[in-house]
Symmetry: C2
Subunit: 391 residues, 2 copies
């Protein structure tokens, strides 16, 4: 819980880049990653970086390519510099970010490119579903036939029973995400949805229907990290990473003390708040990990924005809207920007920087200074939290 990051030098995000989240039939894994990296370099005015951290989950199983670090470094001309892949399931993007942050903060590196990339839509749906299930416990969950959505459905059902919420009480999270995505040119599903459509959506794993679930996709997002010192005034674009933390919980949900509370999200957020020296009320917007609508609710509760069991209230009362007290998924979130799993954590950061720079257009959160960003691996097993400040 100590404010460790502050004992090292501060890290800034100097450049950001992204591809659209889509079905990129015409682009390979390396081309997607390269497009995001070149955009981030271009945005920062730099030519290269000393090292490359790649966040990715499924390249081995879906793209027959491991060794992604050097594969991408080779493509973008970063060799002979350091390159590696970091994996923490759907939290891989933020895991790569944190590894890069530590290396730059420590002084070991003077620049690091972090890219999250995933290419999922080439594969047949059963293959993708099997591959995604590797985020859960292979021996104790997947081997029982539980898919990833089924695990989340069990959590949602238990939550609804425990606190008396109806399925439609979760609708505001999906409706808000889709409404915000309309203003995001890179979103996978950039169109609004209605309550009627939410209610009528076909069932995936009861009570999770199609509009509770985030879509997979192909995409890449990248950020260039550099020391913050010396940037002041010269780069009006720079955003500082004020906190970076990771916490974990049992991989198998049935092993947790409380299956409907995200203990690792709570701990990870608490460490980050301590590092940044702020409280939840000081957060201007929250990019949370809405893989399923139930995850939005549990994340808000874990991070101190709602009491246990009261998360849906934030949606029903409009607090999560861009004009609310705690805007979430401001450019569509996983639900509507899309969820290219290993890339998602970096997309969240790229979008947060866009907001902090005041460049989010019609989706802009007024006077955004402080962003909370949380990326979750599995159903709450690995949780990374970052706090970004407009510098």
């Amino acid at each position: 819980m100590k404010r460790k990051l502050l004992t090292m030098r501060k890290v800034a995000i100097l450049g950001i880049g992204q591809t659209s989240v889509s079905e990129h039939w015409d682009k390979s894994l390396r081309e997607l990653a390269g497009e995001a990296i070149f955009a981030a370099l271009n945005d920062s005015g730099r030519q290269t970086a000393q090292a490359l951290y790649v966040g990715n989950m499924l390249s081995g199983s879906l793209n027959q390519q491991e060794h992604l670090g050097v594969m991408v470094a080779d493509w973008v001309g970063f060799t002979p510099g350091e390159a590696l892949k970091v994996e923490a399931a759907c939290g891989s993007g933020a895991a790569a970010l944190r590894a890069g942050v530590i290396a730059v903060a420590s002084g070991e590196l003077d620049s690091a490119m972090v890219v999250g990339v995933e290419k999922m839509t080439d594969s047949k749906p059963p293959e993708t579903t099997s591959a995604l299930a590797t985020a859960a416990d292979a021996d104790w969950e997947a081997a029982e036939g539980l898919t990833f959505v089924a695990i989340n459905a069990l959590i949602m059902r238990r939550y609804m029973r425990e606190f008396g919420w109806k399925h439609t009480d979760f609708a505001p999270f999906s409706i808000n995400a889709h409404a915000n995505a309309e203003h995001n040119p890179n979103a996978r599903l950039p169109f609004p949805i209605t309550l009627g459509e939410y209610k009528a959506a076909r069932m995936v794993a009861e009570p999770i229907n199609l509009l509770d679930a985030s879509p997979i996709g192909d995409g890449a997002a990248a950020v260039l990290l550099v020391p913050a010192e010396g940037l002041q005034g010269r780069h009006h674009h720079s955003v500082v990473i004020e906190a970076s933390s990771c916490a974990t919980d049992s991989l198998a949900v049935h092993d947790r003390r409380d299956p409907i509370s995200l203990a690792a999200a709570a701990r990870s957020a608490q460490i980050a708040f301590n590092q940044a020296g702020i409280v939840p009320a000081e957060v201007d917007f929250f990019e949370l990990h809405d893989a399923f609508s139930i995850m939005s609710v549990l994340s808000l509760e874990a991070c101190g924005f709602a009491e246990r069991g009261q998360g849906p209230r934030l949606g029903l009362d409009g607090h999560i809207l861009p004009t609310g007290s705690i805007p979430i998924t401001t450019l569509g979130g996983l639900k509507a920007r899309g969820h290219p799993v290993g890339a998602t954590g970096v997309y969240q950061v790229v979008e947060s920087v866009t907001q902090l720079r005041g460049l989010a257009g019609a989706a802009q959160i007024a006077d955004a200074k402080t962003a909370l960003v949380q990326n979750i691996g599995g159903s709450g097993a690995t949780v990374y939290t970052h706090i970004l400040l407009r510098s």
Copy 2:
């Protein structure tokens, strides 16, 4: 090339642990990792570590389990601490080590457990061969039908043609590795081989025969990293990490300026020598990445122990023996200890620490003080070098 690591605090290896490299039909991935971790904790006298870095390449494709960081952390009771998986093909073990070293050196962590683990022998051989090919370039090598051994065979053939060496000139590397493995209770192939057996071994991919190639296997190895400050005198067992580096080269071998020279190994070693402030002649033994006998030769040349094209001479003249000027693969190397790919880099370090502690028994290198350890991903694309000192 700057001596960056020295600007941070120094990192020591306080504990080591390993399983045997074998066909572990009765142990799951988490059990193998756990066995090595508990051994390392026990060896260090510690109860836990703040974070877990898992080096692994193939769990997604061969074990239907990603998210290995928290899966292992959960099993060994390290939750709610940080946990992640680091991947760089056959260099994954050292990649995880370096990530852990940076985090402890920086002050972000006060302890980190690094475990390399791989479980390969459950799978059918064609699956394993396909999975290993993901270390090469999927689009430009594997898609052409090149397996990993075939790529190395092309390199070896070209090397032999270029410099006029015969196949039997490579025999000393395999014979030495097997002879050394006889004294390693954890080795996969702990028996000596003769020149006659080497010559008569069946062909795998000409000119690489079965006794030029390292065997796959199941296994796990672990090291506990802590700050070195304050350990002096209290832990006679501790070994200090004096240098840590990574360099990369084109993933596809045909893209390299010189396909029979390991440019990334040379660069990575040079950075490490500069960090440690030593020259090759000061190295007491060298744990190199002998995935194939040609790789021993190229590694020795890249690290400054032989001129280009003259590596086989070190074997023929006995320099690589335990009593020679540059002993290699002192406890069997990849060839005879075995090559559980994502674990190999950590096995190399565990064995080096055993030597530096003077506890290698009949395999002990006399008065070993300085170890050079090099772990290679792909056919020289990602190369990690660490230099360890008896403290």
